[in-house]
Symmetry: C2
Subunit: 145 residues, 2 copies
């Protein structure tokens, strides 16, 4: 149980660093949290991004479009950690101002899978989404926790 | 490594049973795969379903609306398993015919987090989604792997 607590604390620290990197447009910091073979299901198409290089391009584009800092918040985080494998879910607030002046304020469902690699936790899988309205075909972008 | 292989095989068996239960409208079978404290981020709103009872109502409604059997397929499944905690990601094809004659054929991004409870793997978290098109506000429902 002590081990689990330590693992959970290490993953919380990883996510703290991840959020700091996002806020500061620090692409290297964002990528440092990922396993090289990261597989991402993102809020935007395609269905999946295979590898850290592919998903890094998404974040590069985000940093080009948004003003710095990006206010990014993780809420209702729950981490379930073993010694080598873990997962977490949370509701992440992705807000900010685009360089064209448009404001964004979006709550995302955020799930991550983690592997310990050379003694350090890394995000090996991430899944980011909003729900869909199957009758209208619209993404449901205005939900709040 | 042997242990991991065993854990992975056990999770594959859990998912085989889950798919069989979905195909056969077997609500008890579907719920048997879940931890009681399952937290689900589903394709439809709200943002989250807390607890197996809440998410069971979604599946009850699906079984009321769709013809039996529901053709449900898991593709590109990758399981990362420790001894007590695991996660998986896959692309799941959710197709079928509704009782009103409407046909559905949808590829979903599917992520699950697992905990071993009393020696048996259970789905403790599931995240199901399609991407969103942020320019049009539409859910992207026609992607194929």
């Amino acid at each position: 149980m002590k081990q689990d607590t330590t693992n959970e604390a290490e993953i919380r620290a990883l996510l703290d660093g991840y959020v700091t990197a996002i806020r500061n447009h620090d692409l290297d910091g964002v990528k440092a949290a990922w396993a090289p073979d990261l597989l991402a299901f993102d809020i935007i198409a395609p269905l999946q991004y295979v590898g850290a290089e592919a998903f890094g391009k998404v974040w590069r584009a985000i940093f080009e479009v948004f003003e710095k800092p990006i206010p990014y918040e993780i809420r209702d985080l729950r981490i379930t950690a073993g010694d080598e494998v873990a997962f977490s879910h949370s509701l992440n607030r992705n807000s900010g101002t685009m360089k064209n002046g448009q404001k964004v304020d979006l709550w995302l469902r955020w799930t991550a899978g983690y592997r310990k690699i050379d003694g350090k936790w890394r995000i090996a899988h991430v899944h980011v989404s909003v729900p869909a309205d199957m009758r209208t075909g619209k993404a449901v972008l205005d939900l709040q926790p």
